[in-house]
Subunit: 102 residues, 5 copies
């Protein structure tokens, strides 16, 4: 599992019926130094995540293990909105303080 | 899941019967800067995607979760043709405007 | 499977119910030279691992093969706390000696 | 899925019984510029591929979705021998013309 | 699937019960030039592999397709001890000659 920040959305009308009703969000990797890494991915949302929030996502078949994503053709899902990231006793991220715009 | 642009096709007559009737498309990674990244992959098509279109694909066992690709020996499937990619309030891609030749 | 050191934790209240009651730990890669590699990941804990310990984790669907993680939307799990790492006759890590603060 | 060229073989007598009777081929990545990329992998063959041929392979659990590889401990399978690779209107590979020695 | 050389072992007493009785070996990537690549991984052994041997391993859910590793929380398994690696007509590795110390 990885941490990432929600930075955008993907809209598609012509798609597999099994994706109907699911929000597709663009994520960028969240570094432990508080900076966003390069690259991005698209994940389904199972927890109501919004722009600017730091989230936890998982990939592969595990991405189909939420109620929202069962049997879906999707290999990445957001399954938690992060409150706190702590490393070596330091708080690297606290929701509402920095890096998130909720 | 990742965004990519359809750039070509692969044709094979000598193949697993389970691939019969499926189109095999060559995809190149679509960057959020609107440029294509290096590398490529081959994906099955489940939505009627064509050359120049920006698509969403997924990999792994999730690629077998569309009607078209169930039980197929394929680890990548296109399951959406993208209309809009929006990041940080900016439209990075709009079908019919740029990067696609439909 | 990879070796890693537990360096921190992730806390989230808004999450998939299927993650309830599971500790989410931040891991950094453990190199055979005894140094931590770059990058990190978040893994569920199935063995009571704590900060500073060197652990073994696995990813993908295999991460759902412990009692604690069955059917969970998680793609990484810690399934062993490492006692000894031996390479070419040399002990590269011994629990309690170096690199771990148990 | 990726394109690759068959460059060699692996022979092993001491192995899982579930690999009995399957050919293990060494593949190198096929670039769209017609050159072979660095690195290699070993794949099971399900279509009778031979040295010099450009093939399509898939990885992960999808590699077990051919008749030949069901329930096998293998994460890569060749499931097509490629006739033509076309990108942007250009034929990048044509079986029998270049890059293959059949 | 990849080739690797067995270079060491991992010992852990505090672990998932499902790992009981299985040997955990440290592997380093085997290059076609006969040199070991950087990095390493830990794999379960299903064929009695020992130090110095060149082996074939697979990853992901396929790693659970041997008798020894069914339902185990492990994402890598050794399922063959390699006798010969041949590339382009050249023998790159022959068990007992070089690179192995059986």
């Amino acid at each position: 599992m990885q941490l990432a920040q929600v930075v955008g959305t993907v809209v598609a009308t012509q798609k597999s019926q099994r994706l109907d009703g699911l929000k597709m969000l663009i994520l960028r990797p969240f570094g432990l130094d508080g900076k966003l890494g390069s690259g991005y991915l698209v994940a389904l949302d199972s927890v109501g995540a919004g722009p600017g929030e730091v989230v936890l996502y998982c990939t592969g078949s595990s991405a189909r293990q939420t109620e929202a994503t069962k049997d879906r053709p999707a290999d990445a899902v957001i399954m938690a909105i992060v409150d706190t990231v702590e490393v070596g006793g330091d708080v690297k991220y606290q929701k509402g303080n920095k890096g998130a715009s909720t």
